[in-house]
């Protein structure tokens, strides 16, 4: 019984990856403890639908901080980074996703990971079936416009999930099919109701039980599955502060327990046979470094992001930006990254327009770039119903100088805060600029008012973070092996975005994170067999 004997597996972090690990280890009969810093939020009870209330970094429901929103958020030291978006809570970053679940580009894995793309396909298929991942049958007007833009650029329509050449696709989505009904309440409505509120947390259909929430996240799929086995001991409000270790064999360490601060403030040590880091690419290396485990100079290094940007323009007709899943169409450009349609509400649209930077290089076919304030912002927002926004996600290069380490200036109650340092490489900037020009060309090809085409040149807010405990074959350049096992230990694994050795070709990382977590869970189960 959970809590009564030494568990087989202790997972640190109940987010997008951690709950996949827990679902798979409990399905194999392994007693599993999950320590999650946030709460287990229920969409019907805790999601308000108000995007400011949900997303505001210091006080929002989706913030990096204690579940008591009156308490201050957990700090980070940032260098070259305007912000870091993390969500504390069961499901983690999957809670604030918009359900985009593409696979990584084939070329972003082959030759760069310790396995080939095709070796990862079984785990992709496992997760795609479990969520499940679907292709939309009907598109919203904004996505139809995006696809027409792709056609006018002469781009191919790609079928199938493998991203191995340039082309556009319907977005693979971990969202239940759109219901065709005027009723928005479960059970009459049992699927997506096209409300467009994905980014602020899916709470559709109204009154749905957690497992029937339209957005298929680690919270609505894998957490309930793990819980149903009776072998899960999920502890929320628990912050891990140290991996207690001892000398193992052949110079490697062995983790004996994880020390954590419980919700009531007590310090508790939880022992186990195998430990799995799943706290994300910022917090997993932080905990590893705080614990004094063998570092080798690699832990925390090689941080990659997607250097996101946004290009928008006013089309000749209304496109109802707030209708439908946020992004239902995408176009991939191997070696550069990806573009995708984005349905932004006025607040998010205005924020993107008003808080841009001037960090990009060179001219492009846009009329304005960077921060838009004053009457220019107001006039733009008056035409919001006709504004098509195109998101850009860059295949970032791996630079060891980009890193997560321990801050020497800032501490929180758990220890040294993480220090996040990031500078986009010249190559990343070049790719970003190239993608932005393609996006602007698409908008102009759709008949957008030339004076309306605006490149936000977004400030560097890290939304997707990967690579800080990257896996590989060569011990001199990797922290974890191809099973996600930390080389310097015998029983510590890492299962989250930290292990991804590349930026996935610019693909949204959720599906790849979940697939890799499934792969690591298999390795953990094998090790315990």
């Amino acid at each position: 019984m959970p809590g009564m004997r030494k568990p087989d597996v202790v997972v640190i972090g109940g987010g997008a990856a951690g709950m996949v690990v827990a679902a798979e280890t409990t399905a194999r009969g392994l007693g599993t403890v999950v320590l999650e810093a946030g709460a287990w939020l229920h969409p019907q009870r805790h999601f308000t639908g108000d995007e400011w209330d949900m997303l505001q970094p210091s006080e929002g429901v989706f913030r990096w901080g204690p579940s008591d929103r009156h308490a201050p958020p957990w700090p980070r030291e940032r260098d070259g980074v305007a912000g870091v978006f993390q969500i504390a809570g069961v499901g983690g970053s999957s809670l604030g996703s918009w359900g985009a679940s593409p696979r990584a580009g084939v070329g972003s894995i082959d030759g760069r990971w310790p396995m080939r793309y095709r070796d990862l396909v079984p785990w992709y298929e496992r997760i795609e079936e479990a969520l499940p991942v679907r292709i939309p049958e009907t598109l919203a007007p904004k996505d139809e416009a995006f696809i027409e833009g792709c056609r006018r650029l002469g781009l191919d329509h790609l079928l199938g999930p493998d991203v191995d050449r340039i082309g556009w696709r319907f977005q693979p989505m971990s969202v239940s099919p759109l219901v065709r009904t005027d009723d928005v309440a479960f059970p009459a409505a049992d699927g997506c109701t096209a409300c467009g509120g994905c980014i602020a947390g899916c709470r559709s259909p109204q009154n749905a039980p957690l497992e029937r929430t339209a957005m298929r996240t680690s919270a609505s799929v894998f957490a309930p599955a793990a819980y149903a086995t009776g072998l899960l001991d999920l502890r929320t409000g628990c912050n891990a502060i140290e991996l207690v270790h001892e000398a193992g064999v052949d110079g490697a360490s062995r983790v004996r327990a994880v020390r954590y601060r419980a919700a009531d403030g007590r310090i508790i040590e939880q022992d186990g046979e195998v430990f799995v880091l799943a706290a994300g690419a910022i917090e997993s290396p932080r905990l590893y470094l705080m614990s004094g485990l063998i570092d080798g100079g690699l832990v925390g290094r090689g941080l990659t992001t997607h250097a996101m940007d946004l290009v928008s323009g006013e089309l000749p007709a209304d496109i109802e930006p707030a209708r439908g899943v946020v992004s239902m169409a995408r176009c991939d450009f191997p070696n550069y990254g990806a573009m995708f349609s984005m349905g932004l509400t006025p607040m998010l649209s205005a924020l993107a327009a008003a808080t841009g930077t001037s960090r990009s290089h060179g001219p492009g076919p846009w009329a304005t770039r960077g921060a838009l304030v004053g009457t220019g912002l107001k006039r733009r927002m008056e035409r919001w119903p006709r504004t098509l926004a195109i998101g850009i996600s860059v295949d970032d290069t791996v630079e060891d100088a980009n890193e997560v380490r321990l801050s020497t200036a800032i501490r929180d109650v758990h220890g040294p805060a993480p220090r996040v340092h990031y500078r986009a490489s010249d190559e990343t900037v070049r790719r970003r600029d190239w993608l932005a020009r393609r996006a602007a060309e698409m908008l102009l090809g759709l008949g957008a008012e030339p004076d309306s085409v605006h490149r936000a040149d977004l400030a560097n807010i890290i939304v997707h973070a990967h690579g800080t405990m990257r896996m590989g074959r060569d011990p001199s350049s990797s922290v974890t092996d191809g099973d996600g096992r930390c080389r310097a230990t015998t029983n510590l694994y890492c299962a989250d975005a930290s292990i991804l050795p590349s930026a996935l070709g610019g693909a949204d990382p959720a599906l790849t994170v979940q697939a890799c977590a499934s792969m690591v869970a298999d390795a953990v189960a094998h090790a315990l067999a």
């Binding site: 639908g49 108000d50 995007e51 400011w52 209330d53 505001q56 210091s58 305007a82 009907t138 598109l139 919203a140 759109l178 219901v179 065709r180 009904t181 005027d182 928005v184 309440a185 409505a189 109701t193 096209a194 409300c195 467009g196 509120g197 602020a200 709470r203 559709s204 259909p205 109204q206 109802e320 707030a322 209708r323 439908g324 509400t345 006025p346 607040m347 649209s349 205005a350 924020l351 008003a354 808080t355 930077t357 001037s358 921060a371 304030v373 004053g374 009457t375 912002l377 107001k378 927002m381 008056e382 919001w384 119903p385 400030a459």
Partner: protein
């Protein structure tokens, strides 16, 4: 510092907010000033209001007395030079185009927020017209 002591700082903040989303002083529709966005922003700045005001006036000593259009240009210049300016711009935009101006003291939405009216947005809903129709 007392509220009276913060009045000059609030005047600077009000001018910044009005420059980000102008109202009737220069535009045909209301903006940040008409909904008192500076109060929302000041709440989120907390104890940093005076420091922000000082930083603005150090960068642009004549900021408060500039014409509105010149203030907008000055805000743009200060975005990467004045600590907190980018956050203040974001908070102002959040106040205008988010739900805040339509809520009561209990954060309940009781009327259409200004920004939603300006953008012809009907707000978050539980469902929209089925796709394909």
């Amino acid at each position: 510092m007392t509220d009276e002591g913060l009045e000059p700082a609030m005047a600077v903040l009000s001018a910044v907010c009005a420059a980000v989303v102008p109202g009737f002083s220069t535009d045909a529709t209301p903006g940040a000033s008409e909904i008192g966005a500076q109060g929302f922003v000041a709440h989120h700045l907390g104890g940093r209001l005076q420091a922000f005001s000082d930083a603005v006036l150090e960068a642009e000593p004549e900021f408060v007395s500039l014409e509105p259009l010149a203030q907008t240009e000055a805000v743009r210049r200060m975005l990467d030079r004045v600590e907190g300016m980018r956050a203040v711009v974001g908070l102002t935009v959040g106040a205008v185009y988010g739900s805040w101006s339509g809520t009561d003291d209990e954060a309940k939405l009781v009327r259409a927020p200004l920004g939603w009216e300006l953008a012809s947005y009907d707000g978050p809903v539980l469902g929209r017209r089925p796709l394909g129709t």
